[in-house]
Symmetry: C2
Subunit: 104 residues, 2 copies
């Protein structure tokens, strides 16, 4: 049986100003605003989401949906029930191993 390919949940870009960047993305692309506050925003594209984050809060990264993320380190639990572990590729690119449903 062929193993299904991993999906990339979101790409996160560092921006200087969330509101200004959000306006720019919303006016230049056909995308949907899923969330916004002063510290981050989430945009839905057709096949993936795009997060806009502040350099003081998150590194630029992309998030891969995985199970058993604890095998990559100590997971950080998020308020929405997801949990994640950040790892780096051999060149230092940041990857979030993201578990969407962390059942007990």
């Amino acid at each position: 049986m062929t193993q299904p390919l991993d999906n990339i949940h979101h790409l996160a870009l560092q921006v200087e100003n969330i509101e200004q960047s959000l306006r720019w993305y919303a006016s230049n692309f056909s995308c949907e605003i899923l969330f916004q506050d002063e510290s981050w925003a989430l945009l839905k594209f057709g096949n993936i989401s795009l997060a806009l984050v502040l350099p003081s809060q998150h590194p630029s990264h992309f998030a891969v949906i995985r199970e058993n993320v604890e095998s990559y380190g100590l997971p950080k639990k998020h308020r929405d029930g997801t949990s994640s572990v950040y790892i780096k590729d051999p060149s230092g690119n940041n990857i979030e191993m993201l578990e969407l449903s962390a059942l007990p």
Copy 2:
């Protein structure tokens, strides 16, 4: 009528060594190698492709599938028939406006 959301064709990451990085990605993720040589590689994930590029050749970027990319600047024609224009968001993040089929 609701306008369809734009799709992100690929995410491109700068890596120091294509072959070493390709081995790392292929062993850590369920993904398919679509192309590789010494200067770049392309990996297929479930919902998006991931390009590994050398800093001397391409910036880190993501590519959005668009029509009429010439409205963003002078398109660069690629050997596979696609054409693209690079733009920057207000914070300097690189975005490739990618036209998959450039019909005459």
